[in-house]
Symmetry: C2
Subunit: 345 residues, 2 copies
């Protein structure tokens, strides 16, 4: 294992940080954190907020709810803008909520809600938050775990304050590392922020990052994987990767319709990285998922929370191409036929 305080590691880290920037749409330098996406959610909150701060959490799925729950666990006063699951967040509703809660210190938004297969219109939501900044400056904190690197993301242009993502999603690497970008506005908030923190502290991450190391031992192997993945991604190019995800996402949805199935998400906001499919009433969800895995080597996710048993979720981010989608759809077709035949026997 390479020593994370040595020159080999520094060179890999320099390369990784540089190559991440175009996918975030930023010229700012990312920080590397050791942990999963949820750890990065926690880091994003505890580094810029203080107990008692008012937070607007825009929630319509498991991951947005988790973001809100973390803020509450650390003492924020959380106002929830509850959207219907499967539908995109309404920017007008965000505008209204910010009017009703003029002391809002931060807005928590999940760009792509993995539990429902919905991509929110982050550009429009960001515009609303930006508009209100003139008077009371809410921070825009974005969970981009299942979007950044696969979907268009314009950190600088949209004026985002904190954006997080995780190595195991669009970055095609094993889980274990998270990446975060902070604006100057967020760094200012960080200096005042009083939520307790040590492991996730961004001052430590930046101080060490400037020396091309991490404050604590990182998942070195994952960073090496990230370097190679980013080489491949840079070669393909951000625009080409975004186009491929659009094409793959569209083909998954078409295939799902062809099988007589329905999306859980409103089609206007269906995600190009994950598709949530309603399980037909005559099919047992857990059995379908098991058959897909055992007989067809297709791994799909189950529904989470109250959606368990009523949907399954197809991930299609990262190294996913047309032939993978056809393999998936063929397996799904046979598994559905088998399930119905066995049911009929």
């Amino acid at each position: 294992m390479v020593n994370h305080r040595g020159p080999e590691f520094a060179s890999v880290m320099t390369d990784v940080l540089q190559q991440l920037k175009p996918f975030f749409g930023t010229t700012r330098e990312p920080l590397l954190l050791t942990g999963s996406g949820t750890g990065a959610q926690e880091a994003a909150i505890v580094n810029v907020l203080s107990p008692g701060d008012e937070v607007l959490a825009v929630t319509s799925g498991v991951f947005a709810e988790r973001f809100a729950a973390i803020a509450e666990a650390f003492g924020a006063v959380v106002h929830r803008l509850q959207g219907e699951w499967g539908f995109p967040i309404s920017p007008a509703a965000v505008r209204q909520s910010l009017k009703e809660n003029p002391d809002t210190k931060a807005v928590l938004v999940t760009h792509n809600e993995t539990s429902t297969g919905v991509t929110n219109d982050l550009a429009a939501i960001a515009e609303v938050v930006r508009d209100t900044r003139r008077s009371h400056h809410p921070l825009l904190i974005v969970d981009g775990v299942s979007s950044i690197g696969a979907l268009p993301f314009e950190y600088d242009a949209w004026d985002i304050d904190v954006a997080i993502t995780g190595s195991q999603k669009a970055w095609m690497s094993p889980p274990g590392m998270a990446m975060v970008v902070l604006s100057e506005h967020a760094w200012e908030a960080h200096r005042e922020a009083r939520m307790p923190r040590y492991y996730w502290d961004f001052t430590k991450a930046r101080k060490n990052g400037d020396k091309r190391t991490t404050p604590f031992t990182p998942a070195v192997g994952v960073i090496h994987a990230l370097q190679e993945a980013l080489r491949i991604m840079t070669e393909e190019g951000p625009e080409q990767i975004f186009a491929r995800h659009r094409r793959v996402g569209r083909r998954v949805r078409e295939g799902v319709y062809e099988l007589g199935l329905e999306l859980f998400a409103d089609p206007s906001a269906a995600s190009n990285t994950v598709t949530a499919v309603r399980v037909p009433p005559d099919i047992d969800a857990s059995r379908l998922i098991r058959d897909l895995r055992q007989r067809h080597h297709v791994v799909v996710g189950s529904g989470q929370d109250w959606l368990k048993g009523s949907i399954f979720r197809i991930g299609h981010m990262g190294w996913v191409h047309d032939e993978d989608v056809e393999h998936l759809l063929a397996g799904l077709r046979t598994a559905l036929e088998d399930a119905r035949l066995e049911e009929a026997v």
Copy 2:
């Protein structure tokens, strides 16, 4: 990447948890956390303590200081029992401190202080803490990051409450995962503990662990590596591994003396997993470390904190055997000779 909610992962996790137990010296079930050793230190504190709780931190090195700093960051009232760096903690001093601070809720001990190359007499310290439990029940929280799996550790027999370790140390795996064991006493404290937490929450870890998964996406690749490492370790056997570390540690120290060098640690407490060596006054530490790496393919650590420049540290835990030590000592001999020759020119 294997789905961490699927049966393949569950089987790997079951195997890993089972095989960890003999090295902790426990029949209790470990929890898996995604992060580095410092993350596990934070987890150990925030899960069993409340702001305002009095904590006795036994500190004589960088990692023990970090343990104390984390407790302070989360609002504990920390009493430091400052030992001299390079010397073992005196159990009698712990006894005295506990007498002077009768409201102590927890004692933080670093079993093996990686920054100074000292192994503390944990059995004796644990006995002192156990003695005082009759009246006021302090929790014994142990950082075993650089000890467990390489040095004898008797979680059950010594009556420890929280013990943590990290995948990249004795476990011969890449960094990214931490493992922790809790006593019933610690679980009771957990239910009352009010330090804010979400990502590190042990209730979530246990609830998911019982179903052989983790609350959030773990560093799956590291867990697979751990499984293979534990297979090798179980084959060699805990007693044989501890004996090998004793032999390797002794040989490193002998070799260091033969080169005319001095240990930083008091020889009575010199660690069998890491040896801190004083840099002679006529040698430039950073140059020696660089030469060892570039010319001899030997990677040693620099001194930390105020020891930077005055010591270097040789790690010898995990997959380290006699021939590795001879390779190290030969490289060190030549590097020292070269440094002196070049200095003389």
